[in-house]
């Protein structure tokens, strides 16, 4: 069977393990696919179109699995996701045109590289700050309970302030919150521009944008972001599929691991208190920002060793956060189902 897929058993096992880690991320955070898989495939020596095409198709497949799992928990706002997809598709077109324009000026690589570093760092800071503030708030009120179900408290303060501006037409989200269609369209187009400009799937921008700007619970933001990723990943996979550069062996091996990881990651959202993990996620994005900066430095300074350091930082921080999710998941299960709670 492995011969049919064109992979050696060792490489197949490596992809399964890597897929598991990405799946946990995908299931828990609704992101983490392309920005981990594409560099890994490039480091393993796959040509860029095969790496990007296979990564995008894998993200699509994982998004299908993770969306199915979140659907079971009622955490997907299909109407919001479908609406966002339209804005994102238009934004991607605008973002890619911007890149072509910069390419004509000969500054595309530098601008895109710097923008990628800044966006990752900004989102990382946002999550870290928000987690630290939440910790401060909780010190006063926390009674040590388990993860909260959806409520107004789940929507961050910044999103509640945005929702307070009543700019019609308004849309009722699946969790009962109200959001202006202008906000949704603006966020979708903005996410699409960033996604098209940076050439990434965009889950790491999409999910925080839904959570912090449109204003849903974190679980709904993850589920809806996954559904939107499924739609845009499908379009991307189709485009690369037409070019014949998708390696089904890689995609299959990664999916075998990620399907299990996504189940565990999605399941963990029901047990793990988001605040316990959010800070690690923020720190991971900050580390990823440093890793991308090192990767850019490797190109400018012609020092390939920086590329390897960058990869180790990226995968190492992801592995660390993945372990933290599993650890907190196990702790939460013990707390809920342990002898003292029976």
């Amino acid at each position: 069977m492995l011969g049919l897929l064109g992979l050696s058993p060792g490489l197949f096992a490596l992809f399964v393990v890597f897929g598991f880690m990405v799946g946990v991320f995908f299931g828990f955070f609704g992101m983490g696919g392309s920005f981990l898989v594409t560099p890994a495939l490039l480091i393993l020596g796959y040509p860029a179109p095969v790496a990007i095409g296979s990564s995008m198709t894998f993200v699509f497949g994982t998004a299908v699995i993770a969306t199915l799992k979140h659907h079971d928990s009622g955490q997907v706002d299909y109407r919001l996701g479908g609406l966002m997809f339209v804005g994102i598709a238009l934004g991607i077109e605008g973002g890619s045109r911007l890149v072509f324009g910069l390419e004509a000026l000969g500054i595309a690589d530098a601008v895109v590289g710097v923008a990628y570093v800044l966006v990752l760092a900004a989102i990382g800071l946002l999550f870290t700050r928000s987690a630290l503030n939440d910790d401060g708030d909780e010190d006063e009120t926390d009674d040590g309970g388990e993860a909260d179900e959806s409520s107004d408290d789940d929507v961050p303060a910044i999103a509640q302030r945005i929702q307070s501006y009543d700019i019609p037409p308004m849309m009722t989200l699946a969790d009962g919150q109200q959001a202006s269609l202008w906000t949704i369209s603006g966020v979708s187009a903005g996410v699409g521009v960033i996604s098209g400009f940076l050439g990434v799937g965009g889950g790491f921008v999409r999910m925080p944008a839904i959570y912090y700007v449109i204003g849903t619970s974190l679980a709904a933001a993850v589920g809806t972001s996954l559904f939107t990723g499924l739609l845009s990943g499908g379009v991307g996979a189709f485009t690369y599929g037409r070019a014949g550069v998708i390696d089904l062996g890689i995609v299959t091996a990664l999916l075998v691991g990620s399907a299990l990881g996504a189940r565990i990651g999605s399941g963990a959202t029901a047990y793990v208190n988001e605040d316990d993990v959010t800070i690690y996620f923020g720190v991971m994005l900050l580390v990823a920002s440093a890793a991308v900066a090192l990767g850019e430095g490797a190109r400018w300074l012609s020092m390939p060793v920086l590329d390897q350091v960058s990869f180790v930082l990226l995968v190492g921080s992801a592995l660390f956060v993945c372990s933290i999710i599993l650890y907190h998941g196990a702790l939460a299960v013990r707390r809920e189902r342990g002898p003292s709670s029976v």
Partner: protein, 52 residues
């Protein structure tokens, strides 16, 4: 193995659609398969974690 190798001579659009269909099928089967495993092994795993 790419879509082109899977269906030699097929149009790019058909090859791309077949690749997508294969991935969706794999995803569906894996979701269902792991679902059965979860139903069977989940309670046992939860019990073991709770006992530790």
């Amino acid at each position: 193995m790419t879509g082109t190798e899977l269906l030699p001579g097929a149009s790019p659009t058909l090859a791309a659609l077949v690749v997508l269909a294969v991935v969706v099928l794999e995803a569906g089967l894996l979701h269902a398969g792991y679902g059965i495993v979860e139903d069977r092994l989940g309670p046992v795993v939860f019990k073991r974690i709770a006992r530790r």
